[in-house]
């Protein structure tokens, strides 16, 4: 079952403190049934992720806080926006998009819709990244060389196009495109290797 296979284990800090994060996808099922306790667990398990991404993108703690609030409120009011798969990965993308919107407008649109991504094939979720967490992702990113990591991080956290990445780094566009792809491939291999250990 993809949602089980794609479990987010929470940060090292959460685990060592025994806070334990129930599978995000399963918690969302309970949130759909208006389960307040499940929502609270969801917040406890994922607010560091949401706030961390928002802060990294916005470099503004107040804005990151607003974004975090608005995202969690939206999870409560429109839980159907998440369908299946890796909840942490989905939340990560949602947070990125919402924060970029907020940064661009400098006005957090709390009532905006959660963007729905083209869903990935469930079979992919089921076979890869069964046990993934922030530490493993950092480890996978550290495997990349700077040339590969920089355009990927710029693309994700700065929300700019590959052309803008090429302009800012002074590297030809074709090279940037290739580095993004090879970097993502290498990161995927590193994650696959990490979760199979």
């Amino acid at each position: 079952m993809p949602s089980r296979a794609f479990r987010y284990r929470g940060s090292e800090n959460e685990r060592t403190n025994g806070v334990g994060v129930e599978d995000g996808a399963r918690l969302m099922e309970r949130v759909r049934a208006r389960d307040v306790d499940a929502f609270e667990q969801l917040y406890d398990g994922y607010h560091r992720l949401v706030f961390g991404i928002a802060l990294r993108i916005a470099s503004d703690a107040a804005l990151a806080e607003d974004v975090t609030q608005s995202i969690f409120l939206k999870l409560w009011s429109a839980p159907e926006a998440f369908r299946e798969g890796n909840f942490a990965a989905w939340l990560s993308r949602v947070t990125r998009n919402r924060t970029l919107d907020a940064v661009r407008s400098r006005a957090n649109r709390a009532t905006g819709e959660i963007p729905v991504d083209l869903p990935a094939e469930a079979s992919t979720d089921a076979t890869v990244f069964a046990r993934i967490d922030a530490q493993r992702v950092r480890g996978a990113l550290s495997v990349l060389n700077d040339e590969q990591r920089t355009p990927i991080e710029m693309g994700f956290f700065a929300g700019i196009t590959h052309e803008e990445i090429a302009q800012r780094t002074g590297i030809p566009l074709g090279t940037i495109k290739t580095r993004i792809r090879t970097g993502l491939r290498r990161m995927r291999e590193a994650l696959t290797e990490a979760v199979s250990r």
Binding site: Y8, S11, N13, R34, V36, F39, E40, Y43, D44, H47, R48, L49, F51, G52, I53, L55, R56, A61, E65, Q69, L73, W76, N86, A89, S92, R93, T95, N97, D117, L118, A120, E121, T124, D125, V128, F129, I132, A134, V137, R138, L141, I152, E153, G155, F156, F157, G159, I160, T161, H162, G174, K177, T178, I180, R181, L184, R185, M187, R188, L191
Partner: protein
């Protein structure tokens, strides 16, 4: 540039799309490619899942005061939304009294209205039957549309479909069906439409096919009503509203089908 280099360049674009760094002007083309090309779809699925995880690296502890403040506000909002509205005892009694009175009044009104309405029942019934028939027709039409769209998606993503890369997208054939999956079509001048053309096997001139306008979301899917087995080539050109009998502008592409 060799075919394999072209292919790699296309997959580089898919990776950029998966990371979310592709300019909107190129997104339509790449989304059409993903929809119609199994290799591109696989690449997208794998890299999208990986790209989404990049955000996890930013997770970091939140200072306890801030975390508590956010949680308090959130939980207050959620609890008030989740719990039923409180009702005081006196309010309950009052509403119960009013409830009895209102129920009695409602019964009288209902009786009066029933008498009056009986006269109009037959015409209402006829009107309702007409409305139901209209709705049924609409439901049938919607069902046919859903079935057509489902069949189209099955054909477009099938591994045994034949795909021909053309300007702005792909021509796909499967069984007897022919589709155009086009992205990033240039906007049309006022009063103009795109028109598809088909060349029947053995024919010397193209025949007019469907007209269409680019979809708002950047991906335009056009089923061609001809039997793929009889079509030797397809083309698309810009034509006046309503279409033409023969192409009046240079085609955006002409694609022979094997």
């Amino acid at each position: 540039m060799s075919e394999s280099t072209d292919r790699e360049a296309l997959l580089d674009l898919v990776a950029a799309y998966a990371l979310g760094v592709l300019p909107s002007s190129e997104q339509g083309f790449v989304s059409a490619l993903i929809l119609t090309d199994p290799d591109a779809r696989r690449e997208y699925d794998e890299l999208r899942a990986t790209a989404n995880l990049v955000g996890l690296s930013a997770e970091e502890p939140v200072d306890s005061a801030r975390a508590a403040r956010m949680k308090e506000r959130l939980m207050a909002a959620v609890r008030s939304d989740a719990s039923p509205r409180p009702t005081s005892a006196s309010a309950t009694r009052t509403s119960a009294m009013w409830g009895t009175t209102l129920a009695a009044a409602a019964a009288v009104v209902f009786a009066l209205v029933s008498v009056i309405q009986n006269f109009g029942l037959r015409s209402d019934l006829h009107e309702s039957q007409t409305r139901v028939a209209t709705l049924q027709t609409r439901i049938d039409a919607d069902r046919r549309t859903v079935e057509r769209d489902r069949r189209m998606l099955t054909d477009l993503t099938a591994s045994d479909a034949k795909r021909y890369t053309v300007a702005y997208g792909t021509v796909v054939t499967r069984g007897e069906h022919v589709y155009l999956a086009l992205g990033s079509l240039p906007p049309l001048p006022p009063g103009k439409v795109y028109q598809a053309w088909t060349l029947a096997r053995g024919a010397k001139a193209v025949a007019p096919s469907v007209t269409f306008t680019p979809s708002q979301n950047g991906l335009t899917l056009v089923p061609i009503p001809d039997d793929a087995g009889n079509v030797a080539a397809v083309a698309v050109s810009v034509e006046p509203q309503g279409g033409s009998r023969q192409p009046t502008t240079k085609p955006a592409f002409v694609q022979p089908l094997s």
